[in-house]
Assembly symmetry: C2
Homo-oligomer: 284 residues x 2
C-alpha cells in the first residue's frame, strides 16, 4: 500500500509540468517579487513544479565573454562569441552557470520572464541571460528556428511592470504602441527559438498606483495563472510561409493576404496597418 502510494507520488512528480521563472528584480519587497511569489504559489498549488532563476540573487553574469568557455577558444585573435559558444556547447565546454540554466530551460514546459521594463526592454542582467543561455546549437540552428524552432513544444511569456501608464503606450501615446516595443522581444527572442509565446502580463505603472490597485493587479494575475498553461499562444507566421533561401514571404501567402486590411504581424506588415494588439492578445 505504502509502496503503491510512493510509486504514485514518484509518477506524479515525474509527470508534473515544470515552470521556470527567470526573475530580475533586486528587492524582495518589490511588486515584481510579489508577482513572482504569486506565480510560485498558484502554480505549485495546481501541481506544477516551479523553478526560479533569481538573477540578482545569483549575481548572474550579464556579459558575453571568453570566460563563458572552458579551456581555450578556437580563434583568440578573432574571437566571435556566437561561433565559439556554439563549438563549446557541442563539446560540453560551456561554463557551469550557463549549463545550469540550459538544463533548467530544457526541463521546463513554460518559462516566465518576470522583470521591470528598463528602457523599453529587459534589464541588462536579463539581456545577459538571454545572450548567454540561448546558445547557437542549443536554442536555434539555421534550420530550426521560428515555428520549427528547438523549443516549439515549450511555452514562454513576458510578465513585466512599466514605469508609464498604458495610455502612453497606445498608438497615439508618446511612447508609441506597446505592440511595436514587444515585437523584437517576443518575435526576435522567444518565437525565434520556437517558443509558443503566451500573451504578456503587463502591470501598468504599479509604482504610481494605489495599494488597492496594486492588489487588484495581483489578483488579476492570480486568476490568469490558474489557466495559464492552457492558454492559446500569440499568432506568428509559420516558417513554411517563407521561402527557404532568402526567408522572404512566399508569393502565394502575400497574394492570399493582399485584400486584407492589416499586415500579418507587427514586423511582417506588408506596408499595411499593424494588426491591432497582435503582440498583446491571442487571436488578435
Amino acid at each position: 500500500m505504502i509502496f503503491g502510494c510512493l510509486l504514485n507520488l514518484i509518477f506524479l512528480l515525474l509527470a508534473a509540468k515544470k515552470v521556470l521563472i527567470v526573475y530580475a528584480h533586486q528587492s524582495s519587497g518589490s511588486f515584481n517579487a510579489a508577482a513572482k511569489d504569486a506565480a510560485v504559489e498558484v502554480l505549485t498549488t495546481q501541481g506544477y513544479t516551479v523553478d526560479i532563476s533569481d538573477l540578482y540573487a545569483m549575481n548572474f553574469k550579464a556579459t558575453a565573454t571568453a570566460e563563458d568557455i572552458k579551456g581555450d577558444v578556437k580563434e583568440a585573435e578573432h574571437f566571435r562569441y556566437s561561433k565559439e559558444t556554439r563549438l563549446a556547447w557541442e563539446d560540453g565546454r560551456l561554463s557551469e552557470d550557463i549549463t545550469k540554466e540550459q538544463t533548467k530551460l530544457t526541463e521546463a514546459d513554460l518559462i516566465i520572464f518576470q522583470f521591470p521594463m528598463y528602457w523599453f526592454s529587459v534589464p541588462g542582467i536579463l539581456k545577459g541571460w538571454i545572450d548567454r543561455v540561448l546558445t547557437s546549437g542549443f536554442a536555434f540552428t539555421q534550420e530550426k528556428l521560428y515555428s520549427l524552432g528547438i523549443f516549439k513544444d515549450k511555452k514562454a511569456m513576458l510578465s513585466f511592470t512599466t514605469g508609464s501608464p498604458e495610455s502612453m503606450f497606445s498608438p497615439t501615446g508618446i511612447n508609441g504602441d506597446m505592440n511595436v516595443t514587444l515585437w523584437p522581444l517576443q518575435n526576435g527572442i522567444l518565437h525565434y527559438c520556437g517558443f509558443q509565446v503566451l500573451a504578456p502580463q503587463i502591470f501598468w505603472a504599479p509604482s504610481s498606483a494605489s495599494p488597492e490597485a496594486r492588489t487588484s493587479m495581483l489578483e488579476g494575475w492570480r486568476t490568469r495563472l490558474q489557466g495559464l498553461l492552457e492558454e492559446k499562444p500569440l499568432s506568428f507566421i509559420p516558417l513554411d510561409g517563407f521561402d527557404e533561401k532568402g526567408f522572404q514571404l512566399k508569393p502565394h501567402v502575400h497574394e492570399e493576404h493582399a485584400s486584407k486590411e492589416f499586415g500579418l504581424t507587427v514586423g511582417v506588415h506588408l506596408g499595411k496597418p499593424i494588426p491591432p494588439n497582435c503582440m498583446m492578445k491571442a487571436g488578435s
Copy 2:
C-alpha cells in the same frame, strides 16, 4: 609668434567637437573593431576629439544594483533602482564608473554606439551601460524628455552589425521590418533623452560577406563619417504635439494627419501603415 600659435592650438582643442564611441565587442580583430577604428581615424583627422568607452576592456558592470550607490540606500527593504539612483545622482553618490561615463557623455557632442546586434537589440553589456549611465535626473526628468530632453543639443546614433542579411529584415522578411526593431532603441532610449538621432549605420551580415564586400562596407562608413556631424537627424514628433497630462497626441495633430497615407512614426502609427524607413533614413 610661438605664443600665438599655442593660443590658437589651445583654442582649437577647446573648441573641437567631441565624439564618444561606446563600443561593445570582445575582439580587436572584429569587424566592429574595424568600424570603431575607422571612426576614430576619420573623425580625428577632421579635428574632432574622440573618446572611447571600450566596455569589455573596461570590464564594465552590466547589472543595476545597490552597489551603484555610495553609502546607504534610502529604502533597503524596498530598493527601487530608478528612485535610489536619482537620489544618489542628486547627492553625488553614484559609483565612480557611472560618474566617469556621465562626464564623458556630458562633454560629447555626438555619441556613437558601436556593437554587434544580439537578439534584435544591444548586447547585455551595452544594455547595462544604458540602464546604469542614463540615470533619472541626469538623462531625463518627467518634464525634460523626448524633443525637450536633456540631451537635445547632442546627437547620437547606432552603428551595428547584423547576423542576418538585409532581406530578412524587410517588411516581407522573416525577421520583420528593421524599422520596427529599431523603434524601442532609437525612440525609447536615444530620443527619449532628447538626442537628435542620426540614421543608423547598419553593416548587414559582414561575417557572411567576402573580404571585398567587408572592405567596401567600411569604405562606405569612412565616406559617411566625413559629413556625419552635419547630417540631418531622423524625424520624431515634437513633445508639444502631445498633451501634458496623458501624453496623448493632441486632437489637432491627429486631425491634420487624418488624410495622410502613413502614420506619424513607427510607434505613433494611428492605425495607419508605418512610414517606410522612417527609423533608417532622415526625411523619410
